[in-house]
């Protein structure tokens, strides 16, 4: 519940960003404040070293952070679900091949792979979504495969088969609807990871340089020496926002898991 409220708050902020803060405040040219002004009435969260309002940056940053989080998760879910269902449903050598491929992705350390991919593909919003999407699906694939293995042995799948159903019918009408709740619960947990990944990559300077996300703000703050100059107001707002959003997604994910996973229900 608390998770949903926090999430709702950030979603509204992201959607209403143009109403809450003037986007001209994002450009160094349009900056109106002084250099590293501490929080004041005009700039409730102070300004950065270019005189931009940290509040404005944080509000607009929520859009990019959440957007990357959602799209990267969607991509990861699609890959994970397709591979998981195909492997679990078809079995045999196809399953072995797909799962070894998944394991291969699973054991590659995320950060080096992401850094390599991001530097090959170049720094853009689309590429960062792609990088996070194609590095975060293996867990989902394994989960979905396990659930598919369980669902495909259920008698109603056999009944549909005996009625003459083909693979496509079985997968779309029986397997997917019964695997979907699990995919959905997992999605929410993956969003949190995707947002953190985006922050990490942006902080390392691999994000889209033209768009402000929370990770980018942190990168600017770090490079601008916010810590040594005592400008806590520069680091704290994006940092707290990230922590809250990740926490909120995780809480929702666990709550959903508890609702959808019958084995956890009576605890």
């Amino acid at each position: 519940m608390a998770g949903l409220i926090i999430l709702g708050f950030f979603l509204i902020v992201a959607l209403a960003a143009p109403l809450l803060a003037d986007s001209r405040g994002l450009s160094p040219v349009g900056a109106t404040g002084g250099v590293l002004d501490p929080p004041s009435l005009d700039y409730p969260m102070g300004t950065d070293d270019l005189g931009r309002s940290v509040l404005t940056l944080t509000i607009w940053g929520s859009r990019i952070s959440l957007m990357v989080g959602f799209f990267a998760t969607a991509l990861s879910m699609v890959i994970g679900a397709v591979i998981g269902i195909a492997a679990g449903y078809y079995g045999g050598w196809r399953e072995t091949a797909m799962m070894r491929f998944t394991d291969w992705f699973l054991v590659i350390p995320f950060l080096p792979l992401a850094i390599v991919l991001a530097s090959i593909l170049g720094r853009s919003l689309f590429n960062i979504i792609l990088v996070i999407g194609i590095t975060s699906w293996p867990g989902t694939a394994r989960l979905v495969r396990a659930q598919t293995l369980s669902v495909k042995e259920r008698p109603y799948v056999e009944r549909a088969r005996a009625l003459g159903a083909g693979d496509w019918h079985l997968i779309t009408r029986h397997i997917l609807p019964n695997v979907f709740p699990l995919i959905f619960a997992n999605t929410i947990l993956v969003v949190a990871i995707a947002i953190l990944s985006e922050t990490t990559l942006s902080f390392l300077g691999l994000g889209d340089p033209l768009r402000i996300s929370w990770g980018t703000i942190l990168e600017f703050a770090f490079n601008g020496g916010a810590a040594s100059r005592g400008a806590w107001w520069w680091l704290l707002p994006p940092g707290v926002a990230i922590v809250l959003v990740v926490l909120a997604f995780t809480m929702c994910g666990y709550a959903l898991d508890e609702i959808l996973n019958p084995r956890l229900r009576r605890r």
């Binding site: 109603y156 056999e158 009944r159 005996a162 009625l163 003459g164 159903a165 083909g166 019964n178």
Partner: protein, 340 residues
């Protein structure tokens, strides 16, 4: 060698099973493979011949693990036979005919709760076959008719209910309606009433009998319950460890059984008036399809062998070495026993 029966059927057999074998191999670990150990193979169905005539009800009886459900699933093409042939309407069933076959031959399952997708309404479950086979006509009219034929009236009342909202007996009727929607010629029912309350068992069996009389359906009913076989079947086939050991008209098989295994099964059936004092409880190891005894597969547990009657007849050796084949002892009544 075939087990033809007259039954109540007219015309040729709808379904013929010829020397069908189905085996399952245990998972062979890498270690065992490297050590040259072979995987254990369970011969669940081990050379079965069976026929079902048009309009005939055949009960396939046997204890748990005898392969009767595997035989039913193999007939439906749900497990791949190792060898043998299934003929439908006189023609061997090939893989590409399977879809059409599954329109003509429907299956009813043991557990109606599991056999219905909990996320689909009853309407969707019944309409599923119609959609798969792209049957022409008004879908809701066909679904209504199928539900009504299966005894769910008024059918419209059930359209939007989910399986968990109706009783177990009604769920089995929904499964039957789903089969009837395709106007099949035959239904293979795997333990259709064993998961139901005793009070609704009779209703479902009566429904199956009525369907045979109304539509001329052939039925193959898999059951562990000889009493049930007695009630509904024209012919009974008794299966032991993957083979049919006795087959014949229900009345004849159940009142004058020829195989010691059938006799033993009947003696533990209270309705059959089994003489409790002299009844022979089966001794020995429970059957294991991974280790089928040579010769007559029943000989390690056979009361006739244990009592020494087989030895008196000089059959002990033959029992251990020669597989008994089905022989017609009485008209249309076949038995696979050296002693019969």
């Amino acid at each position: 060698m075939s087990a033809t029966g007259e039954g109540r059927g007219d015309g040729g057999p709808v379904l013929e099973v010829r020397d069908l074998h189905v085996s399952f191999s245990g998972r062979q670990g890498l270690g065992a493979g490297l050590l040259g150990r072979s995987a254990t193979t369970a011969r669940a169905v081990d050379g079965v011949d069976l026929e079902v005539a048009r309009g005939e009800i055949v009960a396939l009886a046997g204890e748990s693990g005898c392969g009767k459900t595997t035989l039913a699933r193999a007939i439906m093409g749900l497990v791949k036979p190792a060898s043998g042939e299934i003929r439908y309407a006189g023609r061997p069933l090939r893989h590409r005919d399977l879809r059409e076959f599954r329109r003509k031959v429907q299956m009813v399952f043991q557990d109606p709760t599991g056999a219905l997708n909990p996320r689909q309404t009853i309407y969707e479950s019944v309409a599923e076959g119609l959609r798969i086979h792209k049957v022409s006509g008004e879908e809701d009219v066909l679904v209504s008719k199928a539900l009504a034929d299966a005894g769910l009236r008024p059918p419209e009342r059930f359209f939007l209910l989910y399986p968990h909202e109706v009783s177990g007996g009604q769920r089995q009727r929904v499964v039957i309606a789903g089969a009837l929607a395709l106007e099949p010629e035959m239904i293979v029912a795997d333990e259709p009433v064993s998961n139901l309350d005793a009070s609704v068992r009779g209703e479902i069996l009566a429904l199956l009998l009525k369907l045979r009389d109304r539509f001329g359906l052939s039925l193959l009913i898999v059951t562990h319950d000889l009493g049930l076989a007695w009630t509904v079947a024209d012919r009974v086939a008794v299966m032991y460890l993957g083979r049919i050991v006795e087959v014949g008209p229900a009345e004849d098989v159940l009142t004058r059984p020829l195989h010691p295994y059938t006799k033993a099964l009947l003696q533990v059936l209270p309705e059959a008036g089994g003489d409790l004092s002299g009844r022979s409880i089966l001794l020995g190891e429970p059957p294991d399809p991974t280790r089928i005894p040579p010769g007559c597969r029943f000989h390690p547990r056979c009361p006739e062998v244990q009592s020494g009657r087989a030895a008196e007849l000089g059959m002990e050796e033959r029992n251990r070495t020669e597989v008994p084949l089905l022989r017609e002892i009485r008209p249309a009544h076949f038995v696979a026993c050296h002693l019969a």
